[in-house]
Symmetry: D2
Subunit: 217 residues, 4 copies
């Protein structure tokens, strides 16, 4: 597999650390980083990965354009205006944007859509369990799942200990039940999704892509 020289915005954050670990294992080289401690650069990156904060968004865009390289954008909490700006920027450089870089969640969604289409008269329930510190109820991913199946379904939210994130969707017919459950066991999974997106972008000049595009095209 090709070795990549990459840049990282938000390098000192939790996700930043995970991404460095995954990139190291694949013998890719960090040549640029930017975070609360400032900027460090060794060479021009071939790709830029961003897991920072909405407040650093403008800086991210400027760096991506000045490097003229693809961008993986995983920063959460971006507003509508910033998303539009990102799409506009994708006319010049290739961008993958997602709020969830877990392969498994994308597969959960695909299974859920298939079951919803085939089991039309079955009941559907979504439930999610997260650590006690999570403030939003239900989780963004649960809402994303509900939107993906295009049904008005009940979402149950449980808050327990420090569970990274479980999502389950259950289908109940008269005589049988199918449940699909996704559990994140660490943040590493999100880092791997971001790295997969980086490889996906390597030979692309421009365009705006979702994480589903990365996985299924």
């Amino acid at each position: 597999m090709q070795k990549i020289k990459y840049g990282l915005i938000g390098a000192s954050g939790r996700m930043g650390n995970e991404i460095i670990d995954v990139m190291n294992e694949k013998q890719n080289e960090l040549v640029f980083k930017y975070d609360v401690d400032g900027e460090w650069q060794k060479e021009l990156p071939e790709i830029l990965i961003d897991f920072s904060l909405p407040s650093a968004f403008d800086t991210t865009i400027q760096y991506a354009l000045s490097f003229n390289c693809p961008l993986v954008c995983g920063t959460t909490g971006l507003n509508g205006e910033q998303l539009i700006q990102l799409k506009n920027t994708s006319q010049k450089i290739a961008i993958v944007q997602s709020f969830n870089f877990s392969v498994g969640i994308q597969m959960l969604i695909k299974c859920a859509q298939m079951l919803t289409q085939n089991l039309t008269d079955w009941d559907i329930e979504i439930s999610e369990t997260h650590h006690r510190f999570k403030k939003d109820k239900p989780s963004g991913t649960a809402i994303m799942l509900k939107n993906a199946i295009e049904k008005e379904v009940n979402i149950s939210s449980l808050r327990l200990g420090n569970i990274p994130g479980d999502h389950e969707i259950s289908f109940g017919g008269l005589g049988e039940v199918i449940s699909i459950k996704h559990s994140a066991t660490s943040r590493r999974t999100f880092a791997e999704g971001a790295v997969k997106s980086a490889y996906f972008l390597l030979n692309k000049r421009n365009g705006f892509y979702s994480f589903q595009d990365v996985l299924f095209t």
Copy 2:
């Protein structure tokens, strides 16, 4: 095991049928029954089991007193006045009364109480899943479970297909989770609990007992 001559009120109902099945397997003999089709009697019963309706309550009490035999009362929906009358009657005959004759649910409660006492700073969540036709939310058993642990905990209720009844209580600490789940796979379990209560009462002259007394004394 001793062979019992028993009477059954509500003999033609769903629970009545299950009880007859369980009693037959133990080679006990039905010598009296009463239901919508009227009364049938062959001999004097040694014990009376009642799974009928609150409207038949007075009849049940009269039969129990006239037979002067112990009574297992599993009729749901009894009001406060009827429960008091039942307790008064227990001065003359031995009575087991419960709204849930499942051994497993009683064990679930005992485990939940032990965990609650030992894991004082863990989060607790209750969830229950029942068939789509169930009208009350949350289930009575979930409320019973919440009362048993004496904590203000969240109850999630899911409605799916024709699931007889699942109850789960989860405890989450920072670094680990324990969940206890009970699933009823058929009504038979309730019939077995009632029959166990019948054996428990055989040598008792009077007194008012719960299903927990049957199991743990």
Copy 3:
């Protein structure tokens, strides 16, 4: 929905009873039956459903040919020769044959195949739980599931109480896990699958179909 006049071979068996229940609810009429008690006929059936024993196989074929009507064949334990005979017969009449008429299991297989194709470097585990009386380990459905994903995976078999049948397939990556679980809550689900197959066959003159064909064409 069209009212059907149907025949049933194995009418007095457990599955036979379930099928009569489901057909009654849809106001279809039983006009022919055959079982250990002999033959009963009122009219010529438009479709024949067979849940009997391999020993009755020849009789089933003769009836189907003499009625010149489609056949749903759910008898288990048929040998290779009988299956070939069934396929030959399908040149004259339309036939659906399956060892498992549960919609959910078919959906489980479809999801499992999709996940296997997309999560190529994830670990896979199959587990199944059945009642204590089940003699074969692992279950035929677990083997069917393993064959469907075309991978050498471990199957864990648990035997507990009177569980009708649970099947789970889990996929584990570094950082996340996806599990799909199917639970049968009653035999009714298999009856519904057979009835669905009957409707599928109504306008077909001949041909050999699987239950997957019924569901997805």
Copy 4:
């Protein structure tokens, strides 16, 4: 809560780091450490915690005796002779020794024992799921669980991704199932158990204790 001056053997290991984190949160002070990088000492510790290797066992004992302070010993892989030496040493200083400092696993065992005693004719199944790198099958904790209930039960072992460790014990009767599941979500839980043991030992002069003693006395 009392502030403790503590010593740590194996300070630079994974468990060592977790213990420092938990102790820091409780504002306890590390005053002595020993690991592959050598010895560092600021003051005399009130308690010594050891999560190192069997090869450092003699050094640990010497330090504990020279400090004349209680010892929490969580090193795994100690042989029989070393365990006897540890017990002998406990005549002079108080010692807690365990191969598993998870509160939840101890509670799982207590629940499992209670259920085994009360549900004598139910089927029992143990299953455990761990990361793909785990070499032993079944896990030591699963064996410990089986020993604790003193029954010959089947253990199913699944290997998936990087799951830290799940253990489940299920009880199946005719009509109902109870399952208790423990999932470790991080090593932190073991660090907390070790710290709990440290507090337990603070006022003890000598004696040999298990982690169950810490939790339930």
